[in-house]
Each structure stands twice: as structure tokens, then as C-alpha cells.
Symmetry: C2
Subunit: 390 residues, 2 copies
């Protein structure tokens, strides 16, 4: 049995992901919280939960900061210490890390951690601008480059160095849309063909429309406690056995390589060491496919294959349901959607379902060990967590 | 001797507070970090520091989010796990709480925590709008009320219920400007008279210009470690012996009272209990005087006097240097300035100086126990910390 439990997940919740019209972020978060509470009847939220961490990326969307306290109130946790964390698209991965610290500190036995974003009421131009705040202002934003452009630089570098093809990028999209078609909470629940993906309009070459993740509304949350208290709340906890976080330069112009994310590699090393696990021990993973190239680089940074072989891995179907190591069974950011603040703990939600046998049509048989890989911006933040069935 | 040390502060840094033209937030943070490193030559930052938490309120000022990773890089901590926390004006109070969790978790032995804001390059109208994001959008911002208006509601309620006077509000300003005149890092270093304060123009009655804190650029930071490791880094650590955080409704319209902040009272109760201390044990305090009324309410919420007697406490000079319990010896948000994200750990910096006898002209004699009170927005977040000389 791998890895000593650090903390245990005793419940989890996820709102519907999609275009949720007429709702504020706080209402969407309350939906995720309700699922987590309903799933864990032995928990008395108001009495038991001693801290809340909320990943939330952008105060511009709703002209609303101070998200921690707001979500506490709307989740029925008025007066609980509540803090928003922000690390761009890794905001709730960072919240998860902060929540793990809190449980291990013994100042809080039961902690709620989640994330939320409401984006679809804004125009694509506005969203693009708000997301760009996660990149460097003086040397990136100011010159007009946005995230599709930054990831296109990674894609062209990867193609140049390793011969990765547009077809391999498209294969990520086809796989994740297939997975998304099996997930009733996914933003897009339709399969696409390789032809659909390859013929979609170019956003920033070689990235086309279907290489990009979705602008989505949604929220996610987990309830964490100490391993020795987990059985008080559930018979089927999921233990977190490894946690790694690392940072990098915010500007890509300062990095040595565009074909790998140093922060992700460093965070993965820490998480694997802590979990006493190797890449080949992972049964199911959710990785940060904000663009298709990001999933291919994730395979390589996580050691699922050698550097440069990520494109072949997906092309051979090894990361599809039924393959050797299914990745993004939820549909990923690509099809389930990417409400940025909600993504990190949303990945953990999927792993929680998988390791407790609740993933229905997308269940990975006998999954014991799972991994989540959550990246902020173009890679200045990465958080990796490893999970084991309790 | 009061309270068991939770964690120890082994160093601290503060940039100059003021209008820092031509600098980005990252450069200002680097200045604070440099002071903390210079003050602690036994620390090898890159090797020893295992996590960074940065309080930062607004991505709008510099069109820049992802502040944790950015500050890590500019402080010379590239690749260190780095997370921004946001809880409005209590952003770095919340960061301090998160950092305490991290040290107590044993996943990180030495942690840097700080905060930063760059505000003065924006117009007053822009700053007012960005700050307003810490209040409720649907029921406060949307109707046009901004922070001076919200705190004016508290002031009028306090005047109505307790007979607090405009002169007593002004006395807070006069005291804090006097303290600020003794602090070379203060934004404003000039004394004012009661007459100056009372005759300044009305912003939101009864609050006048001199009842309002300053729009300021600045950064602050602390280095924390476990108490048993503190002597490795310094002969004069300051121990944190109590920590409390609580939340409240973001909208003031949902609160039962406008004359007290429930979150501050709850956080204070926790901090006092943990520190095994009472209000009369406190020798020096930094409280959140975003408006003069807020300092008067803070006295009452912290038990420095009975409810309704805050105005008299300041009028009698009891909270002035030389008085029974000097409050805001740094000059406070009122005169030192209020670069919002930097304020919480900036308060802790002043207490660190006071408890290690480094506060120069504003030194409180034989100060043993200190307290910081950091409030977010109109009180939806409060963090209280209690410190003891090591």
C-alpha cells in the first residue's frame, strides 16, 4: 500500500458546469457545497467545519472580491474563518494545499476547500482580458499576447523539438470530448471527430478552436479531515498521500524551455516522493488541459511517458477510458469546462468519484491511486496531488 | 509568562510607505524582502524558505494577478510554492494565518509571509472603485455606496447609540498623525491639530478627509519558523501566541449591529483564549484604522474598554505613546498609510520592532505583549494575532 495518508477527503461536491445564467458565483458555490453536505450526512457543517479556503481567480468578472467570506456565508458557514486564494488557473489547487496545511496544523480538524468562477456573462474579449492578468503585465500583456498565444508558443516549440503533430493535439480534444459526453455535469457533452477538431478555425496557430478549453461557470468543493477522524464521517474516504506545489517566473520570456513546465516537474517530484509512488502507480489522472498541448506536456512532466512522447501516448489511446492510464475522465478543462477558480478542486472531485467507485459510465475499473495536476497561467504555479482509496 | 508560542517571527521587512513612483508592486515587495533578509544573516532565503504567502487585494491596479509566484521570483525565491491570499484589507492578515498553518503542519519549517499593493498611480475614482469590490456587489456597490459611506453608517450609529463625537473621531487622527511623524517609513510624517481634522472637507458625514486612511504604495513581510528553530536564526525572536480569524456577511445590510464587528469580536476571543491573555495584558497594539471610527470600534471589540467608551479612551490620551496602551504607534493606516494588501503584515512588522526594542522614537517601554487587528472590507473578515517577546 502506497503512501501514508496526509489528510482524508470525506466528501465532495460539484455544481453543474456550463453557462449558468442568472446565478451569482455565490449561488453556484452553494450548489457545490450542498452536494458535499448531502453526501456526508454525519457532518454538521456549521458545527464541524473550522476553516474555508476558496480558490477564485478574478474579481473583475462580478466586480466582486472578498470571495472567501462571501462563499462562507452562502455555504451556510457564517463566521467560519474564510480565505480566498488566487494562483490564476491553479487557484483552488493552491487552496487545497493551504487547506492541507490547516488540517495538519491541528488548528482545524475539518476544513472545507473549494473554488468558483462565474465567467459566461462576460464577452469573450472581457474574459480574454481578465484571464491575461495571470500573465506578465509589462512584458506579455502590454505587448498584446494572450493565453492562446502563449500556449501556441509551447505547441510550436514542442512540434519543432519532438515532431508533435496537429493531429496529436486534436487527439487530446477528441478523447476529452468523448469523456465529457459521459459526464452529466460536463459543459459540453458531445463527441467530436478528429476532422471536426482539425478543421475548426485557428485561434493561435497551431491551436484551433477545439484545442482550447471552455469559458464556463462552475464551483467545486471538498471536505477534508485528519485520517484518524475520517471514519467518523464516511466509510469510504479518499486519502491524499502526496502534495507538491512550486512556482516559476510569471513571464515565459525568462524560461529556459517552452516544452516543459519546471513548476509542474518540481511539484510532481515532491508529490511522488511524499506519496512513495511512481508514475506507473497512477491508475487515473486529471491534468490541466487548458489547451491540448498542455495535456501532452503534462504527460511528460508527470513521467507518464518520456519527454517528446506525449503526442504518441494520446494517439495510441493509452490515456482514453479503457487505456493503460485514463486521463481527464471528467472531460477535462476541454469538455467539462474551465471555470478557472473551480478547476483544481474540480479535478479532485473527479478523482474522489473514481476512487470511491461513483464515476458511473466513466468509471476506471479498480482505480486505487489517482493524481491531479493543476497549472496556473502559463506555468508560474503548479500544484500536484496524489490520492489513494481509503 | 503568557501563552505557548505557536510560531516565531525571526525577521521582518517593510518598504517605505508612500507614493512610490516608477515602481511595480513586485519591486516594492523585493524592497521589503531585502530588509527581512538583511536583518537575518543566518537565513539562506533560497535554501531555507519553503513557502510564501502574499496578501494582495486588487488585480485591477496593475492589471496583474498571479501575485504569489511573481513576488516569489522578485524576492529571490524562484520555484518556492507561492500563493496569493485575498480577504480585502485583511489580505495579509489572512496570509499570516495561512502561513501559521503551514509552519504548524510541519510541511514547511520556514515560511515567508507578506503583502503588497501599488495604488497611487491610479486616480482616486479608480481606487475607490477597486476598493469597493470588497463590499457586496448586488446590494452595496450597485447602489453606489463606497467605503467612506459604509463606515459613515457605522459612525452615525455609534454617535446615536453612545454619543460619540466628531471631536473624538478627530482625536484618533491627531494621535495617529503624531505617531506617524515619528516613523521614517510613514507615508505622512506631519502632525496635525484637532482643528485641522475637524475643519477638513466632508467625505461622507461625519467622516472628513482626516478621518480617512491614505491611498498608499507599500509592502511588508515576516519570516516565520517553529519556536524550536527560532534561535537558529535570531537571538531575539517574537513569538505568535494567539491567532484568530472569523468571517461575517459581506453586506452590512444583513448585520444586526453597526456599532461592533462580529468577526473582530469572534477572532479576538479565539486569539485571547489561545494566548491565555486578556485585553489588560496587551502593551501595544496595531489596529485597523481605515477610518477613525474603525479604531474606536476596534478598542471596544478588543476589550480595551467597554462598548461605547472608545471615544473617551482616545480623547483621554490612553492610546497615545506614553499612555496606558499605545495603539498604532506606527502611525496606523491613517498616517503610515494603507497599501491594502500590505497592511496586515505591516502591523505585525511594527509589533516585531516594538517587542524587540527597535521602534526608536516611538518605542513603548518594556513592551512584552502586542496585538494586531486587521479587518477586511466593512468587517466580513477579521484576523487578530497576539505576540510575545521571545
Amino acid at each position: 500500500m502506497k503512501g501514508k495518508p496526509l489528510v482524508s477527503i470525506v466528501s465532495a461536491g460539484l455544481s453543474k458546469f456550463g453557462k449558468l445564467e442568472g446565478l451569482y458565483a455565490r449561488e453556484i458555490f452553494a450548489e457545490a457545497a450542498k452536494e458535499a453536505f448531502d453526501r456526508c450526512p454525519k457532518l454538521d457543517p456549521k458545527k464541524d467545519i473550522q476553516a474555508l479556503f476558496v480558490g477564485h481567480m478574478g474579481e473583475s468578472y462580478e466586480h466582486q472580491g472578498h470571495t472567501g467570506a462571501t462563499m462562507a456565508d452562502w455555504a451556510g458557514l457564517l463566521h467560519v474563518p474564510a480565505t480566498r486564494t488566487e494562483a490564476a488557473c491553479a487557484s483552488s489547487g493552491a487552496a487545497l494545499r493551504a487547506a492541507i496545511y490547516a488540517v495538519l496544523s491541528s488548528l482545524a480538524d475539518v476544513v472545507m476547500v473549494g473554488g468558483v468562477e462565474k465567467m459566461t456573462h462576460r464577452s469573450t474579449a472581457e474574459v480574454t482580458e481578465y484571464l491575461a492578468m495571470a500573465s506578465d503585465y509589462p512584458f506579455e500583456q502590454w505587448h498584446g499576447i494572450t493565453f492562446p498565444g502563449l500556449f501556441a508558443l509551447m505547441a510550436t516549440a514542442h512540434m519543432h523539438k519532438y515532431g508533435t503533430t496537429e493531429k496529436q493535439l486534436a487527439a487530446v480534444a477528441v478523447k476529452n470530448h468523448y469523456h465529457g459526453s459521459l459526464n452529466p455535469k460536463s459543459h459540453m457533452q458531445k463527441e467530436i471527430t478528429l476532422e471536426n477538431a482539425l478543421s475548426s478555425r485557428v485561434i493561435a496557430w497551431p491551436l484551433k478552436l477545439y484545442d482550447c478549453s471552455l469559458i464556463t461557470d462552475g464551483a467545486s468543493c471538498l471536505i477534508l479531515t485528519k485520517p484518524e477522524l475520517a471514519k467518523k464521517y464516511t466509510d469510504t474516504p479518499v486519502h491524499i498521500i502526496g502534495s507538491g506545489q512550486a512556482s516559476d517566473t510569471i513571464g515565459m520570456y525568462e524560461r529556459e524551455s517552452f516544452t516543459s513546465l519546471t513548476a509542474a516537474r518540481l511539484a510532481a517530484k515532491k508529490a511522488y516522493e511524499m506519496a512513495d509512488a511512481k508514475p506507473e502507480d497512477i491508475d487515473v489522472a486529471e491534468v490541466h488541459d487548458c489547451f491540448t498541448i498542455a495535456e501532452i506536456i503534462a504527460y511528460e512532466d508527470l513521467g507518464f511517458c518520456k519527454p517528446g512522447e506525449g503526442g504518441q501516448l494520446v494517439e495510441k489511446g493509452e490515456t482514453k477510458l479503457g487505456g493503460r492510464l485514463p486521463v481527464n475522465t471528467s472531460g477535462g478543462l476541454k469538455a467539462k469546462g474551465h471555470p478557472v477558480g473551480a478547476t483544481g478542486t474540480g479535478q479532485a472531485y473527479e478523482i474522489f468519484l473514481q476512487l470511491t467507485g461513483q464515476a458511473d459510465k466513466r468509471q476506471v475499473k479498480s482505480a486505487e491511486i489517482g493524481l491531479t495536476h493543476n497549472v496556473g497561467g502559463s506555468g508560474a504555479t503548479a500544484t500536484i496531488h496524489i490520492y489513494r482509496r481509503g
